[in-house]
C-alpha cells in the first residue's frame, strides 16, 4: 500500500468516525454516511461521463449507472429525512412511499444497466476469433514442422 492510498483510507476513516461522533442516532449517522459516499460516487461518475466519447457504449453504460446512483441517493436522502423529521410517527404512511419508489427505480435501471453490460460482453468479447487464430497458428506450425 503506498502513502497516497494510506492517506485516503485514514481520511475516510476519520470522516466516518467524526459522523458517528457528531450524530448520536445510529440510523441517521448511517444515513449521512451513505449520502456522503453516494455524492462522491455521483461526482466521479459524472466526471467520467464528461470524459468519454459521445455515443460510445461505455458512456451510455456510465449514464445508466449515474441515474441508478442518483435514484439510490434520493432514496437515502428520503429515508434519512423521514427519520430526522419523524415522518414515520407523525405523518401518514404515504410519505414513506416516494423513498421506496426511488429504490424500485434504482433496481429497474440496474436491470437495464446489467443488460447493457451483457451486450458489451457480446460485442467486445473476442474469444471466438481467438480460438480460430489459435487453430490457424497450430496448423501453420504443423506445416512448418513437416
Amino acid at each position: 500500500m503506498n502513502g497516497k492510498t494510506l492517506t485516503i483510507l485514514l481520511s475516510v476513516a476519520f470522516g466516518v468516525a467524526a459522523i458517528f461522533k457528531m450524530v448520536p442516532d445510529l440510523e441517521v449517522a448511517i444515513g449521512f454516511l451513505t449520502i456522503s459516499f453516494g455524492i462522491l460516487a455521483i461526482i466521479w461518475t459524472a466526471m467520467s461521463v464528461g470524459a468519454l466519447s459521445k455515443g460510445s457504449s461505455l458512456r451510455k453504460h456510465t449514464v445508466y449507472f449515474l441515474i441508478s446512483l442518483i435514484s439510490i441517493l434520493l432514496f437515502s436522502i428520503w429515508h434519512t429525512l423521514s427519520k430526522i423529521l419523524g415522518w414515520r410517527q407523525t405523518i401518514v404512511e404515504a410519505w414513506m412511499y416516494p423513498g421506496y419508489l426511488f429504490l424500485a427505480a434504482s433496481f429497474i435501471i440496474f436491470v437495464f444497466t446489467a443488460y447493457q453490460v451483457l451486450q458489451m460482453g457480446h460485442q467486445f468479447g473476442f474469444s471466438g476469433q481467438a480460438r480460430k487464430i489459435q487453430k490457424v497458428m497450430a496448423s501453420k506450425s504443423k506445416k512448418a514442422a513437416q
Partner: protein, 185 residues
Amino acid sequence: MGISAEFNKKLKGLKEYVALATVDASKYQETNLQIIHHLIEERNIPGVYVTLNKPFKSMIAVFKKENIDADMVIFIDAVTKTVGGELQKTDKCLYIGSPENLSDVSIAMEQAVMALPSKERFVFFDSLSTLLMFNDVTTVAKFIHFLAGKMRVWGVEGVIVSLRKEKDKALIDELTQFCDAILDF
C-alpha cells in the same frame, strides 16, 4: 529499402515496441500490406488491425488478393457506418460505427489484444491521418499518447501508420517522443 530491412534497422529485433510508420501517399496501401505481410506471413504472429481508413470488406478482399491470412487478425472497423452509429459484431470484425468514438475503439483494442492466443502479437493502427480528419489535433495527440502507453503495457509490436504530410509534420514530431522508432516508407 524493403520492409523487413527497415524493421531490422530501426527496431533491431525488439519484440515489444511502438513504431510510427510514415508512408508516402502514392504507395500507401502497398506499404501497409507489406508491413502486415511481414508480421503475419514472415513472422507468423497474430494481431489486431484497427482500420479507420478502409472498410473491413475492402480490407479482406485486398488481404485475399495479396495472400495474407486474414484469419490471423482481429479486425476493428471504425469507418463503416452502422445503423444509428451503434456497435455491430460479426464473427470476423467489430464495427465501431464512427471514427470519433475513441472510447469504444480503445476498449475494443484492449479486449482484442488480450484475447490473442500468443505472447508475440501486433497492433496495426491505420491511420493517424484519418483520425485527424474526425478529431482535433489535441484529442489525437492525447489518444496516441494513451495508445502508445497501452501498447507498452500489452507488450505488443505496435505500428501506428500516418501519411507523410507537411501539415501533420508538427504533430508527428510531437508524437515521436512516445514512440521507439519512426519507420519511413
